[in-house]
């Protein structure tokens, strides 16, 4: 008891001293010395436990239990991971994935569908051969499947579980996890195929800046020049490649926990995987919109491979001229396409085909 009383007295005097002298002291004068630590012998274990909590360098630790990270007594990043996951990520991801479709819907209401000026010509030219469409839809279906299963694991607890109950949701979530893990490793292959097929055609060109500057002709009706791929498509393509690599690498770290990767690396991988995929999905909404209802005549290029000439002239005029001229220019057209068009006259097919 007396210790605390003496201590209280000391503290009071100290406070009094600050109030009386401290205010009177000129600026820059020596502050009064801090009170001496009243603990003569501090807890000898305190340094050790500070180290265990990794507030200071962790001392060497061992355990006889085999496994990765088993010798680590306290996983201090766990709470950070939990805070991030529950407080920051789920909410932000939810808002993004709801906000982007709402924004697209608003855009659709205001701008409406981008029509082909002057209507269709009735003549079609080939845009995406079978192989191109195959790898596109392979990637697209894989992407949608992985997105749905991944989002089930991310939001299911808050959205699906309250609707169906824990038992039914467990079946859904378990199937999602197994499906996600089974088909996920195919995604790097899809990204690789896309890269090999379309990387050259997506190299940036000077006219892409002009295209971007004019907003791609999406707003207003200004005419914008573009080759086989316009700047918007190129940005999407390189986003797919970069995000695809990030998502694939982080996903592979998570799906095969057998290479001795530690808990911290897997935490980081999950954080990166989550953010990258949510951004990826948000991006894909824009791609899906502009490829389907957003722009008249776009979808048929990926559906059956042929687009209307008027559509090509509007959106990809340089490519259209190349096809008409029957020769490849600046790698904008794959080498086999001109030959193909020379066989059956310069890129013209019957309307019935479309």
């Amino acid at each position: 008891m007396w210790i605390s009383k003496v201590h209280d007295l000391k503290a009071t005097l100290f406070l009094l001293a600050i109030l009386t002298f401290g205010l009177a002291l000129p600026v820059g004068a020596e502050p009064p010395p801090p009170p001496e630590s009243p603990i003569a012998v501090p807890n000898p274990a305190s340094d050790l436990w500070r180290a265990v909590r990794q507030r200071s360098p962790m001392p060497h630790s061992v355990t006889q239990v085999e496994g990765v990270d088993t010798a680590q007594m306290i996983n201090t990043s766990g709470e950070t991971f939990r805070q991030y996951r529950r407080q920051d990520f789920v909410g932000a991801a939810g808002w993004l994935l709801v906000g982007v479709p709402v924004a697209i819907l608003l855009f659709y209401v205001i701008r409406g569908r981008i029509r082909i000026p002057g209507g269709r010509s009735g003549r079609v030219i080939e845009r995406f051969p079978d192989y191109d469409r195959t790898i596109h839809w392979f990637t697209a279906l894989l992407f949608i499947f992985l997105a749905l299963t991944g989002l089930t694991l991310l939001f299911g607890r808050f959205v699906i579980l309250p609707l169906f109950g824990p038992e039914a949701f467990s079946v859904i979530a378990s199937a999602s996890k197994e499906g996600h893990n089974l088909f996920g490793p195919l995604f790097p292959l899809a990204v690789l195929l896309l890269f090999i097929r379309w990387a050259v055609r997506n190299l940036p060109a000077g006219r892409d800046l002009v295209w971007l500057f004019k907003g791609g002709g999406i707003i207003g009706n200004a005419h914008v020049s573009a080759g086989f791929f316009n700047a918007g498509e190129k940005i999407w393509f390189w986003s797919v490649i970069v995000l695809g690599i990030v998502v694939s690498v982080s996903g592979l770290i998570l799906v095969f926990p057998v290479f001795g990767q530690g808990r911290d690396i897997m935490q980081l991988a999950l954080v990166v995987h989550g953010i990258a995929t949510v951004v990826f999905i948000a991006f894909s909404f824009g791609h899906i919109y502009i490829g389907t209802i957003g722009s008249e005549g776009s979808f048929e290029g990926m559906k059956n491979g042929y687009v209307d000439e008027a559509w090509a002239k509007t959106h990809h005029d340089l490519w259209y001229e190349q096809v008409k001229a029957g020769k490849p220019i600046d790698m904008a057209v794959p080498r086999d396409v001109p030959e193909l068009h020379e066989d059956e006259h310069p890129g013209v097919a019957s309307t019935e085909k479309a």
Binding site: S4, G67, L154, P166, A173
Partner: protein, 209 residues
């Protein structure tokens, strides 16, 4: 209702690993799963200490917070358990747990994670108490038999304590008093005296210490 806690006294733990072995035997956990482990810091150096670590049955458990299928629940005794019929083996609880408690048997192809397994405070699981299913999936339910977790029950130095938080902290408090007041300056660190020795205590605490 009790509020069950583990406490491991680092001044007493001798790193014998008997708690680990007892746990494996009592709960018949799968190969490669260790619900409890002993970690030794500064091994062979001055100030070496060992602690037996397992699920600490957090009041606000991070594993339960990050679980995508919400399979964790806390019993009336304050024991954090999970339902293996609901667990999908994603591993998020392992990332969030401060103690590395969640374990995963290598179940599927490429050693993918099976359903999570962790210390149950020898309190079984959501299956019918005492049933064969409960024992197969979750191990012993000693709590239902009026016993405490085996790891703590058989600890030779009584370093590992298990039981109601109030009882555990009483025991530990007495030990600390016995070890000498100079270790912790009560008047300074615990001004509210909640942990101060009883008035009758002078020097040595009565009872076990």
């Amino acid at each position: 209702m009790a509020n069950m806690k583990f406490y491991c006294d680092a001044e007493r733990c001798i790193e014998c690993n008997a708690c680990v072995t007892a746990c494996k035997n009592e709960n018949e956990v799968p190969w490669g799963v260790n619900r409890r482990r002993v970690v030794t810091i500064k091994d062979g150096e001055p100030g070496e200490r060992s602690l037996s670590v397992a699920c600490m049955h957090c009041a606000d458990a991070p594993c339960a917070a990050v679980c995508p299928v919400d399979c964790f629940y806390t019993t009336e005794d304050g024991v954090v358990l999970h339902d293996k019929d609901i667990c999908i083996g994603c591993g998020y609880c392992f990332y969030a747990c401060p103690f590395g408690a969640p374990q995963f048997p290598k179940a599927g192809a490429f050693a993918s994670r099976g359903k999570m397994d962790k210390c149950t405070f020898c309190a079984g699981g959501p299956k019918e108490t005492g049933s064969a299913d409960e024992h197969r999936m979750y191990g012993s339910n000693r709590l239902a038999e009026g016993k405490l977790p085996l790891c703590a029950e058989m600890c030779s130095t009584k370093a590992l304590l298990a039981g109601d938080a109030n009882v555990i902290s009483d025991i530990y408090r007495k030990r600390v008093i016995n070890r000498g007041a100079s270790v912790l300056d009560w008047g300074v660190n615990y001004d509210k005296a909640s942990l101060r020795a009883p008035r009758t205590t002078s020097g040595k605490a009565t009872g076990e210490g």
